[in-house]
């Protein structure tokens, strides 16, 4: 009996001695209250979604508008008719739009990776320091703090802006080319990759780098000949991880006018051809899944190759 009581006491004292964090509890409390407040505020029109008007809209959409145009006639809802419709739109503009979406993502991610690679030695606190990798006081980095802090702030500001907002401004300011979409994607992802690449350099094994430094290697040589080359496998992992999201984002940036899937979506939406809208979205699903697969294979290959 007494051993049971002692065990309970022990459990209780362990429970009381558990690590507690004000930040964690504050965050949990804040979000708990926020979720309740948002759903009760009436800002989210849950009830309105189930009104008769909405139901009629949805029924019209599902039974008429979403049905492929040639299949709406009596008895025409057959697979061959559907297939002719799909391949017609694919040949007409689907293929070109899908391909240019892919090119947008690719051009953007290569630019972003280039930027990230260039800024990574500056963002890495192990290199942006008076005597990189030599024994020194970590706290006293002097003006180098501004270099690493500044480049990290630049990266943070770049990634804080949503791609769509960046593209919106660029479309309005630059001449009509594909640049706004590419640049918007590249800026946002450049900010993300710059930070990840900088962290990668910071997490490299310091010993070989220290050996270089002690033999008289200068900072620029350390960065370009030692740190970046040995970080390349990680860089590539992040490259493909962001490529996936780039493909996803590229499907919508065209909505601002750059010729790609998004621009086609806007066009058919304006003419209320919702059957084609759904088909175009399906093409988008196709390349996003393809991008995921390519990235998955590439990352697996890099992991194995080291």
């Amino acid at each position: 009996m007494s051993t049971v009581a002692a065990t309970w006491d022990e459990i209780r004292s362990l429970h009381q001695a558990r690590p507690r964090s004000l930040l964690l509890r504050g965050t949990m409390l804040f979000f708990g209250l926020a979720v309740v407040a948002v759903w009760l505020s009436g800002e989210i029109e849950v009830g309105d979604l189930f009104t008769e008007r909405r139901r009629r809209n949805l029924m019209r959409f599902l039974t008429i508008e979403a049905v492929p145009f040639p299949m709406r006639e009596e008895g025409a809802a057959t697979l061959p008719v559907f297939w002719i419709w799909v391949s017609g739109i694919w040949a007409d503009r689907g293929a070109a739009a899908t391909l240019s979406t892919l090119w947008l993502a690719l051009a953007a991610i290569v630019l972003a990776a280039g930027f990230g690679t260039l800024i990574s030695p500056l963002a890495a606190r192990t290199l942006a320091t008076p005597q990189p990798y030599l024994l020194e006081d970590r706290k006293r980095r002097g003006p180098w703090m501004l270099v690493s802090g500044g480049s990290r702030l630049v990266c943070a500001s770049m990634r804080a802006m949503p791609e769509y907002v960046l593209a919106f401004f660029l479309v309005n300011l630059l001449p009509f080319t594909a640049w706004p979409a590419v640049l918007a994607l590249a800026l946002h992802n450049g900010g993300i990759l710059g930070r990840l690449y900088g962290d990668t350099i910071e997490n490299l094994d310091p010993q070989p780098l220290r050996a270089w430094s002690m033999l008289g290697g200068q900072r620029a040589a350390l960065a370009s000949l030692a740190a970046i080359p040995s970080a390349v496998p990680r860089y590539l992992l992040y490259f493909f991880y962001r490529f996936e999201t780039c493909v996803r984002e590229a499907t919508v940036l065209g909505m601002l006018g750059v010729a790609s899937l998004g621009s086609e979506v806007v066009e058919v939406q304006a003419s209320h051809f919702y059957d084609e809208l759904i088909l175009l979205i399906a093409f988008g699903v196709g390349i996003v899944l393809l991008g995921d697969l390519a990235s998955h294979l590439a990352r697996g290959w890099i992991r194995r190759a080291g």
Binding site: N57, V110, V232, V252, L277, I278
Partner: protein
Amino acid sequence: MVEPRPLPFGARTLTVLALMVLGAVAAWQLRLTPSGLVPQEGGWKLTREFLGAALPRPLDYEGSSSPHWDPFLLKVGKSLLRTLAFAIAAMSLALLVGLPLGFLASDSWWRPEAFGGGRLAPIARPLQVLIRTWIALMRSVHELLWAVLFLAAMGLNTMAAVVAIAIPYGGTLAKVFSEMLDEAPRTTTEAFRGIGASPFAAYLFGLFPRALPDLSAYAFYRFECAVRSSAVLGFFGYTTIGYHLELSFSDANFREVWTYLYALLCCVLLLEAWSTALRRRLVG
């Protein structure tokens, strides 16, 4: 003993070179030339005016305003609050969907000693593949495309906007959660199984808590992304911050635009700082 290389370059150099070539091909296909980066006549004037308005000035309406309107900063605050509200609502739904799906998509759920054994054994693998495919489909349609689709099907409704964000976010959470659950240490769940806990109890109280810090840190990061997505939904008629940003821009009230931009930027940077602090506390 180092193996002699069959080629003058290693695999890394070749991969990097190949990607650079692919990038160049993409640029060529899209006809990207440096001249496209320089604004044209009308663009120059607009660019100058737009960038000229970047420095913070008295934060009030530009042009004509009505005394019945909210003070400008109150309007900015309200639009930011609505942006956050959409993101919070969307994330609460996404978590509700993403967590169970994450469980069901993880390998540890379908292990023979968990739920993949016994009568379920023959269908365990197909079932998991089915769930993973479902998750991939949820993620593969961008939230803005969901929003366009819902607008077409039902019209403007804030719940539809929230669901539009929640679907792809739920899928992403499920995918990443399942990976994190599979990477979590299995010692506790195995100990629980050893003393006779049911597979479900062992999973829920043995494995899930071990992965919880990672899951929470990732969920917070996704919340940050949801705020950005919710801001962008404003371009589609929902009155989040993007809506006012677009209106002010088309009225050429660039100082208002910059105020909205700074507000969004501060909000996102603040959330990121919060997220970093939380991650340090949770994951170390």
